[in-house]
């Protein structure tokens, strides 16, 4: 039996203004690759952030590798986070550092402060070589010493992915990693990400807008809408009808003239 990497048991997440997730239960096994799909505001980001402990459930239980996240001390939480790579929607890179330094910062969760300082200011050749190797995998190795804010959006995305990979994590979470990239490049990036994760046997959970992309690369899809799971099954078993229901506008969301017609 495959061990469970992530488990949610009847989890509800309530923010002051809105209920982001409502009684969600799901299980993700180790090595699985799943895509979260759904309209904006459906709770995809909140779900992902439950997994690395950034968001606390208002009720219910979140378990990562059979350990309840609420029971973790701050040191244990840090250790957990250092083993999960997160690619943020806005990338969250340091614009005035170069690519090498941004990627190196991925391992800070495991190092002491003094080591990190030394690493950023005076990286040794083996570290540089490792990063170079990693950047080769994502295709931007010639930008090793370029300042990060001088890269295009797509290239910066790859830097963010490289940073997550440099962590040598056991799982990768990605929040809309290709939302601001053109379709061809999005295809490349997601293809690359899934290939790497399959190679290294990493658990992967990606939230995506683009259904075709999700269907193409991921064996399992979870559909979210307004904080609840609409479907959770293998891609091959899914039919178009369910997809459409996911993205259908409700009466309230529709513009006034459409409703009247």
């Amino acid at each position: 039996m495959t061990s469970h990497e992530f488990e949610l048991e009847n989890v509800t997440v309530r923010f002051p203004s809105v209920t982001a997730l409502d009684s969600i239960s799901l299980t993700i096994g180790t090595g699985e690759q799943i895509a979260l799909v759904g309209p904006s505001g459906s709770g995809k980001t909140t779900l992902l952030r439950l997994f690395n402990g950034t968001v606390r459930p208002s009720s219910g239980c979140v378990r990562v590798r059979q350990v309840d996240t609420r029971e973790l001390s701050s040191v244990q939480l840090r250790k957990l986070r250092s083993q999960i790579g997160f690619v943020h929607q806005d990338l969250s890179l340091v614009p005035n550092l170069n690519v090498l330094q941004n990627v190196l910062s991925g391992r800070m969760g495991r190092e002491s402060f003094a080591q990190s300082l030394r690493m950023i200011l005076l990286p040794i050749s083996s570290e540089t070589a490792n990063v170079h190797q990693l950047l080769k995998r994502v295709g931007i190795e010639d930008k090793l010493f370029t300042r990060t804010d001088k890269l295009s959006g797509g290239q910066q995305q790859r830097v963010a992915i490289a940073r997550a990979l440099y962590q040598q994590p056991e799982a990768i979470l990605a929040d809309e990693p290709v939302s601001s990239v053109d379709p061809a490049r999005a295809n490349d990036t997601i293809g690359l990400l899934t290939k790497i994760c399959r190679n290294d046997n990493l658990t992967m959970c990606v939230s995506l807008h683009n259904l075709d992309l999700a269907r193409k690369f991921f064996p399992r899809l979870i559909g979210l809408r307004e904080g609840a799971i609409v479907f959770d099954r293998q891609t091959s078993e899914l039919n178009d009808d369910e997809f459409h229901r996911l993205y259908q506008l409700t009466e309230e969301e529709m513009l006034p003239d459409r409703v009247e017609s």
Binding site: T54, S74, R81, G85, V94, G109
Partner: protein
């Protein structure tokens, strides 16, 4: 068009307010424009401005044997001005970063995921705001007193020595740096800091690698500006007995060696111009 007239309305009102305040102030001081052209001092003024065209290279009056040549004295004065300014700024930056950090909102932003136990809640709701408030009040106090007034205070307390001058500049400048640094830190986008925290960084990691690099260009620009101000303050300290360029300028003026005075003035101007150009260059390279 309406927003435009509203803006214009506010600015006109501000301008009007300024004019009224100016009128009141002029009346309060009983400003007399005739004082600008005093008859009895015309000769001095004329001599003084005439000397601007020919700054001295050697002393004007014969000096006892063994006195340093004038240009050497000028160079020494400039060098000492720089020394005092640099030492004071280095102290002020260190203190300013520390106090700025403590008085900003950066360090007590809590990780929302961690369980809030009793001790942590006490820390967050009581102790931290107190520390922040205390630091802010302290910073406001030290930066309200001008560095020359600090000089007077330190002179009275510690007598005349190098530390008096350095502290007199360093203490208020720590306040300036602390205020500006805390503002810069508060306004820095937090996304990188959150990302570092989410990959497992400790609070130190979060601050030094998540917040500081993004705040660094603005901080450097302000530090360059403050260094220029420190050079000027250091020069003025000379009037109080500290051996900077002001110390040599004053007796030269009192003895009416106007050519020498202009030599010192030109040296100071040159110094500021060089520092200004250099810091412009540095700022451009950092943001490139």
């Amino acid at each position: 068009m309406r927003p435009l007239t509203r803006i214009f309305g506010l600015r006109s009102r501000v301008l009007l307010g300024i004019l009224i305040a100016g009128g009141w102030a002029a009346w309060q001081l009983q400003l007399d424009f005739h004082e600008l052209l005093p008859a009895n001092r015309w000769d001095t003024a004329r001599d003084f401005f005439h000397a601007a065209l020919s700054p001295a290279i050697v002393y004007e009056d014969p000096t006892p044997a063994g006195t340093q040549p004038l240009l050497v004295k000028v160079a020494k004065g400039i060098w000492q001005t720089i020394c005092f300014a640099m030492t004071a700024i280095s102290m002020a930056i260190v203190g300013g970063v520390l106090l700025g950090f403590l008085s900003s909102s950066a360090w007590w932003e809590d990780d929302p995921a961690r369980d809030a136990n009793c001790l942590r809640q006490l820390l967050r709701n009581l102790i931290t705001p107190t520390i922040v408030w205390l630091t802010r009040t302290f910073v406001v106090l030290i930066r309200s007193i001008h560095e020359l007034l600090w000089a007077i205070l330190f002179l009275s307390a510690m007598g005349l020595n190098t530390l008096t001058a350095i502290l007199a500049i360093a203490v208020p400048y720590t306040g300036y740096f602390a205020k500006v640094f805390s503002e810069i830190i508060d306004e820095t986008p937090r996304d990188t800091a959150y990302a570092i925290r989410e990959l497992g960084g400790s609070p130190f990691h979060v601050f030094f690698f998540g917040l500081l690099p993004r705040a660094l260009p603005d901080m450097t620009a302000y530090a360059c500006y403050r260094f220029e101000c420190a050079l000027r303050s250091s020069a003025v300290m000379g009037f109080f007995g500290i051996p900077t360029i002001g110390y040599y300028l004053r007796p030269a003026f009192d003895e009416q060696h106007f050519h020498e005075v202009w030599t010192y003035l030109y040296a100071l101007i040159l110094l500021i111009v060089i520092v200004d150009r250099w810091s412009d260059l540095l700022r451009r390279r950092i943001t490139q």
